[in-house]
């Protein structure tokens, strides 16, 4: 039984259709990477799962519950957490306060201030800083920590590597095994194909709102991915 099942999803922004009949399923404990170029519909898919956009057709089912029209704040108690595009750290709150806001929904689980600090030493060092005064990498690590504080069953990571130095991206991805080893299911959206191939158990490539390629990283050939990614 899959943990998340997105079926035949259509999403429109006004007259523009971002997603066409997209189907995505994830089993519990899996790490799925959604890759694709700009405008492929990756972030829109995550927003539909988190509840920030309402699809025009299709359904989103999480742990056997239809959540297609559930508002975002009611999805967090079910066990869905999103680190949004652009990180969206609360600028006037300190790092620690950002994490505590993330823990507003008191779901039981392995994540707490202490365990987040352990997984992300970068965050621990900056815990008393204001969100406004963080570097991009510190913001991203804090955003992931904040999402973990709700002890999600499904963690949605949007564009982790965007705008970050490669060495910082490495540091952040280094924490991913600690997250998945607790049984958390992860859906990561990436433009950086190499990075996502390393961490994912399955890869799905989108192009203009549709799935064009799907498979295990070991079964996919570089040329296959390149042509799917760019649509050539």
């Amino acid at each position: 039984m899959s943990l998340l099942s997105v079926r035949d999803l259509d999403v429109h922004y006004g007259d523009f259709q971002a997603i066409y009949g997209l189907t995505v399923t994830i089993d519990e404990g899996e790490t799925l990477a959604i890759i694709g170029a700009n405008g492929a519909g990756k972030s829109t898919l995550l927003k539909s799962i988190a509840g920030q956009v309402t699809p025009t057709a299709g359904s989103v089912t999480f742990a056997d519950v239809d959540i297609t029209r559930t508002p975002p704040h009611k999805r967090v108690p079910l066990g869905i957490a999103l680190t949004p595009e652009g990180r969206r750290i609360f600028p006037s709150l300190t790092v620690e306060e950002n994490l505590l806001v993330g823990a507003h929904v008191k779901r039981k689980g392995p994540w707490s201030l202490a365990s987040v600090y352990e997984a992300f030493p970068l965050v621990a060092d900056r815990k008393d800083r204001f969100g406004a005064n963080l570097s991009g990498g510190e913001q991203q690590a804090t955003a992931i920590g904040r999402a973990l504080m709700s002890n999600p069953r499904l963690l949605l990571l949007d564009e982790v590597s965007l705008g970050l130095a490669p060495v910082v991206v490495e540091q952040i991805y280094a924490a991913l095994p600690a997250i998945t080893s607790t049984g958390t299911t992860v859906l990561v959206v990436e433009q950086d194909v190499n990075q996502s191939m390393k961490v994912a158990s399955r890869v799905q490539c989108l192009l203009e709102g549709r799935t064009v390629l799907e498979g295990r990283p070991s079964d996919l050939h570089r040329d296959q991915i390149a042509s799917a990614y760019f649509g050539i």
Partner: protein, 289 residues
Amino acid sequence: MQWINAIIQGILLGGLYALLAAGLSLMFGVMRIVNLAHGALAILAAYLGLVIVQATGISPFLALLAVVPIMAAVGYLLQWGVFNRALSMGGLSPLLAAFGLAVVVTQLLQLRFSADLQSLQVGSLSVASITITDQISIGVLPLITFVVGVVVILGLQIFLSRAPLGRAMRAASDDPQTVPLMGIDNRRVYALATAIALATVGIAGMFLGMRGNFNPTYGDAMLIFAFEAVIIGGLGSLWGTLAGGMVLGIAQTVGAQVNPSYGILIGNLVFLAILAFRPTGLMPKAVTT
């Protein structure tokens, strides 16, 4: 000596202004709502107190125990029923909704209580004073008002910086789109913020009524003083609001010392000077967003 006295009286008056302005500052800080009905709601609270005092014969101080929770409930329902909808429509809607509310509240009070001046009787307390020197004495009621004003602002500040709900309010103030991703319902946080704001309005209205006369249109002047206190202090900063209230109070009493008819004028001039030379106020928010 007269000048020292004027400054002391100004500080005490500033406590009342800070008490009045606290709720205005909170609603602006959390929701960016400019509550033009703030003064009218303070007067509503004073009339509510009057009705309770007349019906039961209890002291206005005891009536506070009823007025404050009633005003908090009014705030919750007001936010849920009116302001949350206005916020979702965006633009000027919340401002217009507040303006409409101010008109409706004032007119309903006129209809029910007429324009006669009223006051909440506190007996000998209204004239009781502590003599410091021959020329300086401190009124007990203004002193109580001042202490209550400082305690309310201090309490709000501690609540916002320490309590989980206060933290959620600051987060909602920073980025209302992201707060639901933390499992927090913005509309509920807003309703609770307005409930707290109107609880403080309830206290402010009662002290206004105890310190002097009021009628239904009295809220307009109070709204202006509260606004001036908030702007002088710096938008969104509660400590600033306290400081702003005192600056305004001192300006008014020192001005009145120069010439009794100059008090309010000097207060307004100080406010204009702050707007012109330090538009962010005395204590702007430390982190700009």
